[in-house]
């Protein structure tokens, strides 16, 4: 386990500065700035409706903030298309599972590799030859992920039929298949019991440590957040109210009032 202090020196991967986002009258995010460093696990917490999910949406281009700049890998940008974010190595999972319900687990994960596949239309029509070789190559990568997440048994099951917890896992697998640099996880453990949360935590740590993927994590289970994350940013009503190490955040009175209720 690495000490949090190592992280502090890590190079900055992404920075959001003075982001504001509103929908009509609703101000979802107001003037929030923070950064994510390469290789760290950065948690975003806050009460319901604080703007956490909206923040992730801003980072990967689904929402366009009215104000503010985002710097990713040293490039400043304000507006971009979601698929451009994906091309630059940002992957994510969703709070309300957003799997492709009509496809099998395997296809869902293969979908994550879309950007890595290049064979043209002609070869796809023929299938035999290059297209098949490519398909098999990527299938191998996907199988590794399937092994890693222990979902071999449901490979060929349409995801619509899976219980919620497994769906979340498939979603993680799909995001991993993109081999992202930055992985955004939106409540990956909601609706899981303790044992499953432990498993999921393990996966997340492994991804972070073995593959060196930077992770931004939204989670309401404080145990998970405290144990996994290197730094935590706390939002409330769209405003950043705290930012720092888990311990510091946990004892911050504002955070306790707004979010935790009682000290955990």
């Amino acid at each position: 386990m690495r000490a949090p202090s190592d992280q502090a020196t890590g190079e900055q991967l992404l920075a959001v500065e003075n982001i504001s986002l509103s929908f009509g009258g609703v101000k979802a995010i107001r003037d929030v700035s923070f950064d994510i460093r390469r290789g760290e696990i950065r948690a975003i917490i806050g009460p319901n409706g604080a703007g956490k999910t909206s923040m992730l949406n801003v980072i990967n281009g689904f929402y366009h903030p009215q104000e503010g700049v985002i710097t990713y890998r040293g490039n400043r940008r304000s507006k971009m298309k979601p698929y451009e974010a994906a091309m630059q190595g940002i992957a994510r999972t969703f709070q309300n599972v957003a799997l492709f319900r009509g496809m099998t687990t395997l296809d869902n994960i293969m979908a994550g590799r879309t950007l890595k596949m290049h064979r043209g239309f002609f070869w796809q029509c023929l299938y035999w030859g290059p297209a098949q070789r490519e398909e098999v190559e990527h299938r191998q990568k996907v199988e590794e992920i399937i092994d890693f997440l222990e979902i071999q048994a449901i490979r060929k099951t349409p995801v619509g039929r899976l219980p919620y917890g497994l769906q979340k896992r498939v979603e993680l697998a799909r995001a991993l298949a993109m081999e992202p640099e930055l992985l955004l996880l939106d409540e990956p453990m909601a609706g899981m019991n303790l044992e499953e949360k432990e498993d999921m935590s393990r996966f997340i740590l492994d991804v972070n440590q073995q593959l060196g993927t930077t992770i931004a994590l939204i989670e309401h289970d404080m145990g998970v957040v405290m144990d996994l994350s290197d730094r935590v940013v706390v939002l409330d009503h769209g405003v950043k109210i705290a930012d720092g190490t888990p311990d510091a955040v946990q004892s911050n009175q504002d955070v306790i009032d707004a979010y935790l209720g009682v000290a955990h």
Binding site: T53, F62, Q95
Partner: protein, 318 residues
Amino acid sequence: MDLLYRILVDPFVQMAGMPDFFLQVIWEGFVAGVLYSLIALGFVLIFKASGVFNFAQGIMVVFAALTLVGLHALGLPAYVALILTIAVMGVLAVAVERVIFRHLVNQPDIILLMATIGLTYFLIGLGEFVFGGNPKVMITAQLGLPTGSTAIDVLGGLVILQHIDIAAAVIAIIMVATLGVFFNKTRIGRALRAVADDHQAALSVGISLEQIWVIVWFAAGIVALATGIMWGARSDVSFALEIVAFKALPVLILGGFTSIPGAIVGGLIIGIGEKIGEIYWGPLVGGGIESWLAYVIALIFLLFRPQGLFGERIIERV
């Protein structure tokens, strides 16, 4: 240059040159629009309550009108036939719910659409079997609907108003108003929208789909009857009327699938728009453009408002 003139200037010159005729065009467009709205209204009702596009609405129009005329032909007085026809539409509503929709709760919209297609096949077969395929004359006068026309002297010319068209407009407005109030101001209205959103959740809070569906199919049946009477009075009562139902599509799309006022406004825009388009711009390309103009008008509106004028917002969120 000449072409530009003919596209950009000449039509307006014509409009200004014959204002009485222009007024007549608007009126005809208005009437057509009202009639389109009547068809669209039937679709909206069922769409609101189940999220399903009721393919059978067109044939229901024919079926209702045929029943009315058929019962009258048996010697029943017009009003008795009318009441009996309403009863038949009620029976149809119950049957549709019992036999079809009860078994298809919580299925994807496209499946429900397919079921209404099945229903369409069945009703066409049944209708032709019972009533025969030959056209019949609507019993307009017997129902006490006005016939004849009035010519108004305005703007240096005559504008002819058909009494039946005026009646159609009045009936349509009454119908839209009643249904609008019924579905928007009562708790049934809220329940309807809930059902359209999520069958299962609606069930879970105790909304009775059976009851809701019977109500809306019955309402749609009555709207179909009104539509059948009005269109029947315009041409004749035959299975060809079913084709007219397609006209509801651009209206619905423009107005928004779930909105009762949308059906009216959409109908009027399409009705008036296509008449003006056909009369003043149609000749440039040899006429007959009405068949696609409505869709193009709807398309242009949609590019600005993808959910139609009054449709519910398409929720995009992750």
